[in-house]
């Protein structure tokens, strides 16, 4: 017997009629399934840390299936940031974007000190931009429910209706750290001049002041050597937590509408973006960034020094 699974439907930010239709269809299809509860919340990224939606999400002990207009990697680390953690649930879709091993707990909780996720429960993240009809999602979720085994009978009574949590949210913009990639090199703290990043008691980097982030600025993500910084709302999939090539989802007309034809490297673009946002904030531009030197090559494992030789000899000695 397992705890019942909760399907979380994170609504889109836009008035896109096709998207709203898909959300409604999904809620309708899934709410009738007695094996799961359906919870509808505003857009996951915009939720208030101590609002009703995140509070409700933190209280859910069982498996989660999260449907959002986000790349699965972005969804996972937005939840992690809010102390909502679990094993990576594999769906066979977009799995290549997720960490190979169960996510390393980030340790440093950001918006919340509570860590409700040191459990064996699973979190499955599905990207609603992948299919335009509800059926593929419903099939995937039914498979997840079937694999999870029978739910505890005491909890199995379904109301047949989705639970909708409303809270007023405004569009936010802040980085989300993928701790399965972050090596704590602190490049981001050095680079960001708006004070977004900080460290916890264990000197582990965290997004300390998310609302100090400059809307639209993804520059720190470009300087991160591990590509561990996700801006879920950025138009470039590589920055938004996806692995898809630009254009896989929609046409990008930026070049037609006036983007500079830059063939610049990531650090040049990052410096230009940072300067633009410094100017907007009324500060002096900081100028170019010197890329960090490549990490020193690891010492070859087979290279022995005198001490190694001595140890080898010790073993060979009959003491």
């Amino acid at each position: 017997m397992t705890q019942r699974c909760t399907v979380v439907l994170s609504r889109g930010q836009t008035v896109h009629p096709d998207r709203q239709e898909l959300e409604q269809q999904l809620a309708l299809h899934l709410a009738g399934d007695p094996r799961c509860e359906v919870l509808v919340v505003p857009h996951l990224y915009d939720l208030n840390a101590h609002g009703p939606s995140l509070t409700a999400l933190r209280e859910i002990p069982g498996d989660l299936v999260v449907l959002a207009w986000l790349y699965p990697r972005a969804t996972r680390w937005i939840l992690d940031r809010q102390g909502i953690r679990g094993q990576v649930g594999r769906t066979g879709i977009d799995d290549e974007d997720l960490p190979a091993e169960p996510a390393r707990p980030s340790g440093a909780a950001n918006d919340t000190p509570a860590d409700s996720g040191a459990s064996s429960r699973r979190i499955y993240c599905l990207d609603l931009r992948r299919d335009q009809t509800p059926e593929p999602y419903v099939d995937t979720i039914r498979q997840i429910l079937a694999d999870a085994g029978p739910a505890a009978s005491a909890e199995a009574a379904s109301t047949g209706e989705a639970r909708t949590l409303d809270e007023s949210v405004k569009r936010r913009w802040y980085p989300v750290i993928d701790y399965s990639r972050c090596t704590n090199c602190l490049e981001c703290i050095d680079f960001c001049l708006f004070g977004v990043y900080g460290v916890d008691e264990a000197d582990k980097v965290l997004v300390e002041l998310p609302d100090h982030c400059r809307k639209g600025c993804p520059a720190c993500s470009r300087v991160c050597p591990e590509h561990a910084i996700v801006f879920p709302q950025h138009k470039s999939p590589a920055i938004a937590g996806g692995m898809l090539e630009p254009g896989d989802l929609k046409l990008d007309l930026s070049n037609l509408f006036g983007a500079a034809d830059d063939l610049l490297g990531a650090h040049d673009v990052a410096a230009r973006e940072r300067d633009e946002h410094l100017l907007i904030a009324g500060q002096r531009p900081a100028g170019p960034v010197v890329p960090p030197p490549p990490p020193p090559p690891a010492r070859p494992a087979d290279k022995k020094d005198e001490l190694d030789d001595l140890i080898d000899q010790l073993e060979a000695m009959d003491l």
Partner: protein
């Protein structure tokens, strides 16, 4: 709108009123007192089609460099970053569009205006110059679109 010039995009005939100027990034510009009001041209709207989401990343009043990135747009067919058509002080956005951007499609030369900038409009094009600009960029646009759609 008295006189209009037209430009053919495939079967579609895009119209450009001659009572205003144009920017190379496919925005029209109309002087209103000390500010210049901008909006998408019929060419831009045809490429975008139904606009679903408009987002600005700067807050007026703000000093803009020419071609500075100022926001993004998402439509049925496309998404794009948006750029300042000229340098100057951005004084206002059309707030009506943030909740419901449909005026961009319904009335792009009127209620669908985007923003106003206080600055020199010397760099803007006349309607005739804009049409010449379109004749140059339309083949490139078609290639870009086909390339992204993986069509031969």
């Amino acid at each position: 709108m008295s006189l209009v010039l037209t430009f053919r995009m495939g079967q579609f005939e895009a119209e450009f009123p001659t009572d205003r100027c144009y920017a190379r990034n496919h925005m029209w510009a109309q002087r209103r007192g000390d500010v210049v009001r901008f909006g998408f041209t019929a060419y831009a709207v045809r490429l975008l089609q139904d606009v679903y989401f408009l987002d600005w990343t700067v807050e007026p009043p703000v000093e803009l460099q020419p071609r500075q990135e100022i926001g993004s747009i998402e439509s049925k067919k496309a998404e794009s970053a948006l750029f300042a058509p000229l340098g100057g002080v951005l004084t206002a956005f059309n707030e009506q569009l943030l909740d419901d951007p449909s005026a961009i499609n319904l009335d792009q030369y009127g209620a669908g205006w985007l923003f106003e900038i206080r600055g020199s409009d010397d760099s803007l094009l006349t309607p005739q110059q804009y049409l010449e600009h379109l004749a140059n960029v339309w083949p490139v646009a078609q290639k870009t679109i086909k390339g992204q759609l993986n069509e031969p």
